[in-house]
């Protein structure tokens, strides 16, 4: 944290990302080792009952992690978790945010609990998560 100890209610994480393209999904398939064809092969996705390919949940969580470590040094993160609330479609423009919900003492150090969300351009929540960071 660069700006000292945060207060409950402070929004310390905020980042917007460019629209998700098929190209990005192909790159993520290779870069992440997640070769599930449902994210890159439209024929496979349709056979599985989806109208098109869709983003890897972990790509979206990767963006949320990026937004988090823009605000907090990676070495300060004690836990990071999320629920994948909805499928993230092609073209989605994601906004990641994190707000301090609690200041705690845990494991012999002062920590903060953050509520994290990722929403698309329509305000639909894609990820709802939490992080615990050392202060």
């Amino acid at each position: 944290m660069s700006a000292g100890v945060p207060s409950v209610g402070d929004r310390i994480v905020h980042k917007e990302f460019p629209p998700i393209t098929r190209h990005r999904l192909a790159l993520y398939c290779g870069a992440s080792g997640d070769h599930n064809p449902i994210h890159v092969d439209i024929d496979f996705a349709k056979a599985a009952g989806f109208p098109d390919v869709f983003a890897h949940g972990m790509l979206v969580m990767g963006y949320l992690g990026q937004a988090l470590t823009d605000a907090v040094a990676p070495s300060k993160i004690r836990s990071f978790s999320t629920r994948f609330a909805a499928i993230t479609q092609l073209g989605a423009q994601l906004t990641c945010e994190g707000t301090v919900t609690e200041l705690i003492e845990q494991g012999g150090e002062k920590r903060a609990k953050l509520a994290l969300t990722t929403k698309d351009q329509n305000g639909e929540i894609k990820l709802a998560g939490e992080a615990i960071i050392a202060l």
Partner: protein, 143 residues
């Protein structure tokens, strides 16, 4: 359908090295420009990268799905959690030991949630993290 008998099932441990070139590909893919990750030796890895390392270096891709008889096309990612206990940096060699810790039916059996917990240790035997994923299986309707 996967049932309680799956709880406790363990899968082949995965050993993965944090290689700078592969990490750079991941960073570029996410448009990650934070200099902390490009610090050369001893650069930390991004918070979700442990999940990728396990998949990249698995000798049997999607082993737990195959082992439990789950069709890849019916799987969605439900939840993901990381608990970090010690730093993971470029050059580390990590071992992942995945194990099923929970099976829950939802919506009258239309979906099954499967929890796989994976402790991660480094080349010095230090327990660096715990990774937990919850998979949602969309079960086929009986015909």
């Amino acid at each position: 359908m996967v049932d309680q008998s799956a709880v406790g099932r363990e899968f082949t441990p995965v050993t993965a090295r944090v290689e700078p070139g592969r990490l750079r590909f991941f960073l570029d893919t996410l448009g990650e420009t934070n200099p902390v990750y490009r610090d050369g030796e001893a650069a930390p890895v991004p918070p979700t990268y442990l999940f990728c390392l396990e998949m990249m270096d698995a000798t049997v891709p999607f082993e737990f799905l195959t082992a439990l008889g789950i069709d890849l096309a019916r799987v969605l990612h439900g939840e993901q959690r990381f608990d970090y206990h010690a730093p993971v940096v470029v050059g580390d060699t990590l071992t992942f030991r995945p194990r099923v810790t929970g099976v829950t039916d939802k919506k009258g059996g239309a979906m099954t949630l499967i929890v796989v917990d994976t402790p991660v240790t480094n080349q010095n035997g230090v327990h660096v993290a715990d990774v937990s994923r919850t998979i949602v299986v969309r079960n086929a309707r009986p015909s």
